[in-house]
Symmetry: C2
Subunit: 389 residues, 2 copies
């Protein structure tokens, strides 16, 4: 790698920022040590390099042109990866390697490795490939990698852990009750988990008491959509890996999902008819919490509608984007908002909610959503809404 | 300001990062526009500059020496502030200004403005000064500023908002029941809120039904420590601003508190006898959730012990520090940990928890904490623990 000198210096400072002089020990961000860790992969070296690491993180990037702007942008992307690579160096003896693959020069390498989307990051771990299509920031990527290297199935041993399981409602999750780790049905379940890990959370219990509390019979697997109270039992137990995979793929667009930095672009690309229903609500604010409760209620009522998928954005998770969203969508994010956004041109239409008046009821919100969906069905028929779906 | 050219270029790239080419509209991070926004304040201009803004954010920094390293570090700090300044430019017509005060050249200015701690950021808003002693990162600072410019008291109007109030358990909070916005007792409460805003959350209701659900009589104010189920009623209603301020100051070190990026250095500096009891637990993991439940139980039992203050760190909030903590403290953060850390030299001692065995019970954890506190009382008496406190 040939980063300009200032690049390295900056990297160190990025790492060193935030620790005031004379700070007490225990909170210092590490400083950059000057070592290059990110590999450039090509047809000659990629096999040898990849053999050296248990986990390999590859950025499949656009070819960097002559323009200074493009070169600088690429240097910053390299810096984010170098920062992640240093922080994870020797982490837990995991041997995590980082590399770059140029889409113009080494498209053949990418093809052999199964990387398709340019500007995505691919993580190779245990014969699985995980695509990362989130923010290219070191902290978000590193947090995601911790999840990748964890076991794909988490075992629930006791009631407190079960409470922890119920506490997770923002992710899609499955839970199964099996005889034990060696049960062939658990092994199928574990294999299926690897296919979706870490985006879908898989849990299992071998404890009959916990199984009973989850209302699970032996080898039964229940599927929980995000924010839904009641699970759906996957029919036809016991299941093979393929049956589980098929079921999840057929149900992988939830009625309500939260935008997360680690998957924000992937979710944004998954629009229905080029549009998203987007709801902004700050969970830690009573107003936002109230609106979110209404939103969950409506989503639960409409969970069987395949045309409905609402993206919930908590502005607290994206502080630097808040003023941009306010300007782009012409809305005030200090109170909750819901609207329809066209992903091609960012045109949008927002439900009129007066800040001083009461929130819409679940019924009103449901009607508004029905209007939006029926207009989607028939674009020529602008005002004829609510009559059917 | 005279940042080197590459500084500006980088800033743009920092802002532009993360949006892949060809991404759908609505998720683009804004690019830097090249304008300088951060002022350098001195004795001649500080009054005029501060008059121009409704909210002023001043970084009271160390004088930058001749060394290249010091200059680069300072440039990165300036960049973080420029980034925040651009993002907040014209935000909500709030007129938020940013400036730098050099502690060597302009110590007199700092003194006049009431800034004491070098390397802290001071926010001047509505005649109040708020000290920010957190991570010097644009996103964390910007998120904090959104909280600063919100009203210091949030009004609870209905049952769903009340549920949102109960949902907030990580912050210290107060709630009062008053006749209305014009009640002199509410005005005293609101004035007290300004003193602690946004670190302590203040809520009020004017609705008799909500007051009843909170078990509040007219003009009563209840105080909630973080993670405690039951509030304490502040004695002697109705309260003056000074009485409320005194009460909060006497109770401002909770038994259990969460380390947050926006106040991490402030909390770390607030050690008891140079030590912290630190607990690592990942809330979104069943193991971590289980341990946190035990920790909350023990904290609730010991809420009246002024010598006990446990810092809970969720590793998910600090991904880049995880490997550093694992090395510094010689622990494995993939499962929960609790220990005592000396803030002078980062020496630490951790409770032995076998990953494959059951968690300690609340009683065992309580005994371990009692041992730690009694050894703190008498350093010569290493193994004679548990006999008194």
């Amino acid at each position: 790698m040939s980063l300009a000198r200032w690049g390295w210096a900056l990297l160190g400072l990025l790492l060193a920022l935030g620790a005031p002089a004379g700070a007490e020990k225990g909170m210092e961000f590490p400083e950059y040590d000057g070592r290059d860790r990110v590999h450039i992969l090509n047809a000659d070296n990629y096999q040898a390099v990849m053999k050296r690491y248990g986990v390999m993180v590859l950025y499949y990037h656009k070819h960097v042109g002559e323009s200074r702007a493009a070169q600088r942008q690429f240097q910053m992307e390299e810096l984010a990866l170098e920062l992640a690579a240093q922080v994870l160096d020797d982490y837990d003896d995991e041997d995590i390697g980082f590399g770059l693959v140029d889409s113009k020069k080494d498209g053949a390498v990418a093809k052999k490795l199964g990387m398709k989307e340019i500007e995505s990051i691919y993580i190779f771990a245990d014969d699985e490939i995980v695509e990362y299509d989130g923010q290219l920031a070191a902290d978000t990527l590193v947090e995601f990698l911790y999840d990748v290297i964890e076991d794909p199935v988490e075992i629930i041993d006791n009631e407190r852990e079960l409470k922890g399981f119920f506490n997770i409602d923002e992710d899609m999750k499955l839970v199964g009750y099996f005889k034990g780790k060696k049960s062939p049905h658990f092994i199928e379940f574990d294999d299926a988990a690897e296919e979706f890990h870490p985006f879908v959370k898989f849990f299992a219990t071998f404890d009959s008491k916990i199984g009973k509390m989850l209302k699970l019979k032996m080898n039964q697997v229940d599927f929980y959509e995000p924010f839904m109270n009641e699970p759906v039992t996957i029919p036809g137990k016991p299941h093979t890996e393929a049956e589980l995979v098929d079921y999840i793929e057929a149900h992988d667009r939830p009625t309500l999902r939260k935008l997360e930095p680690h998957s924000m672009y992937e979710i944004w690309e998954d629009a229905i008819d080029g549009q998203h229903i987007v709801a902004f609500a700050e969970e830690s604010d009573p107003d936002g919490f109230e609106f979110l409760e209404i939103l969950k209620e409506v989503s639960r009522e409409n969970t069987d509608n395949p045309d409905l998928s609402i993206i919930w954005i908590d502005p607290d998770d994206f502080p630097l984007l808040v003023p941009y969203w306010e300007k782009t969508f012409d809305i005030d994010l200090s109170s909750p908002q819901i609207g329809v956004v066209d992903v091609e041109d960012a045109d949008s239409l927002w439900l009129d909610m007066d800040e001083d008046e009461a929130m819409p009821t679940a019924h009103q919100l449901d009607e508004w959503i029905e209007d939006v969906l029926s207009e989607n069905d028939d674009d020529d028929d602008d005002n004829d809404s609510g009559d059917d779906k």
